[in-house]
């Protein structure tokens, strides 16, 4: 979409090129945020190393 916007701008169709460019930027930002949310969910589960470092707590019985 970025490339198409550039070509359209070269051809002189600046209004359509600008709109296309704006849509491509919005799509890029939106996808990056989605990926960040996914990595946050994965990071919630502790690894064996993190569990090893946890202090011993009184069991809940």
């Amino acid at each position: 979409m970025n490339l198409a916007a550039f070509i359209l701008a070269l051809l002189g169709v600046t209004w359509i090129a600008a709109a296309l460019y704006a849509v491509s930027v919005v799509l890029l930002v939106w996808r990056r945020e989605e990926k960040k949310v996914e990595t946050r969910v994965e990071a919630k589960e502790p690894t064996p190393d993190e569990i090893k470092k946890r202090p011993v707590t009184a069991p809940e019985i």
Partner: protein, 254 residues
């Protein structure tokens, strides 16, 4: 002193050790003020069992230490020299568990085991002695020496049948069976067209206590730690189920 074994017959990898060790630690904590050595854990797995490794805290810690196999081989006159204490300090007070293990694969006779149990009972006076044995055959030295048997099965027809057949060979009163649902994707038995809970209930005449699949338990095992001391029941459904089973054991055995 009551003696209990977690049994899967000839099947291995069913979660016997996980359940035995975690309930032993929970009961040690629960009875910490009632007696000095509430629970004694006897790991009969040759070449150092998983529970012993976790209690020792290091894979190399068994090197050079006397073990129960030294007593069995005649290198140790006093079996209590092969017993160790693991102590934990928590925000609600300290508690401890006594344990022993086998460093070598030596044939253990019923008479030797009976003597070890009698020495433990007279000298340590625990409330409970937990036997963690490798997959058993019918001529196991443990046969006839335990008061209670906990069948531990997985969603597998052969595991359920092997456990059901060998529970009578070991003797002792059977407690509520445990179904370790370590395969969450297949909750229905295709052979029985019924949920695994129903299959186990039909085999043992009692609905099982289900321990659900939990990735965190695998992570704790990799860290060589005790699950109930590192995970809260709120974050781990398997730990929650193990705590519930330990409460049940405290009412039946304690």
């Amino acid at each position: 002193m009551k003696k209990i074994i977690f049994l899967s017959g000839t099947k291995g990898g069913t979660g016997k050790t996980t359940l035995a060790l975690n309930t032993s630690v929970l009961l040690s904590y629960l009875w910490r003020e009632a007696t000095h050595y509430p629970v004694v854990y006897v790991d009969l797995t040759p070449n150092v069992g998983t529970a012993a490794l976790i209690l020792l805290g290091d894979v190399l810690a068994s090197w050079g230490r006397p073990s129960l196999s030294d007593y069995v081989a005649g290198r140790l006159a006093e079996p209590l020299r092969a017993f160790y204490i693991r102590r934990w300090n928590t925000e609600k007070g300290a508690f401890q568990i006594v344990f022993t293990f086998m460093t070598q694969d030596v044939p253990l006779s019923r008479r030797q085991l009976e003597y070890v149990f009698s020495v433990v009972e007279s000298r340590l006076r625990p409330r409970l002695l937990v036997v963690d044995a490798p997959p058993l055959a019918s001529d196991s030295p443990v046969a006839g020496l335990v008061d209670y048997v906990v069948p531990v099965v997985t969603p597998d027809v052969t595991a359920i049948e092997a456990t059901r057949r060998y529970q009578d060979a070991v003797g002792g009163a059977r407690l509520k069976p445990v179904l370790n649902m370590y395969i969450p994707s297949y909750p229905i038995s295709v052979l029985h067209s019924a949920p695994w809970e129903r299959v186990v209930e039909n085999a043992f005449g009692e609905p099982p206590h289900v321990v659900p699949y939990d990735r965190l338990v695998q992570a704790v095992r990799q860290a060589l730690e005790v699950e109930v001391l590192k995970l809260k029941p709120a974050e781990s459904p398997a730990v929650k189920a193990i705590v519930e089973y330990a409460r049940y054991l405290s009412t039946r055995v304690g």
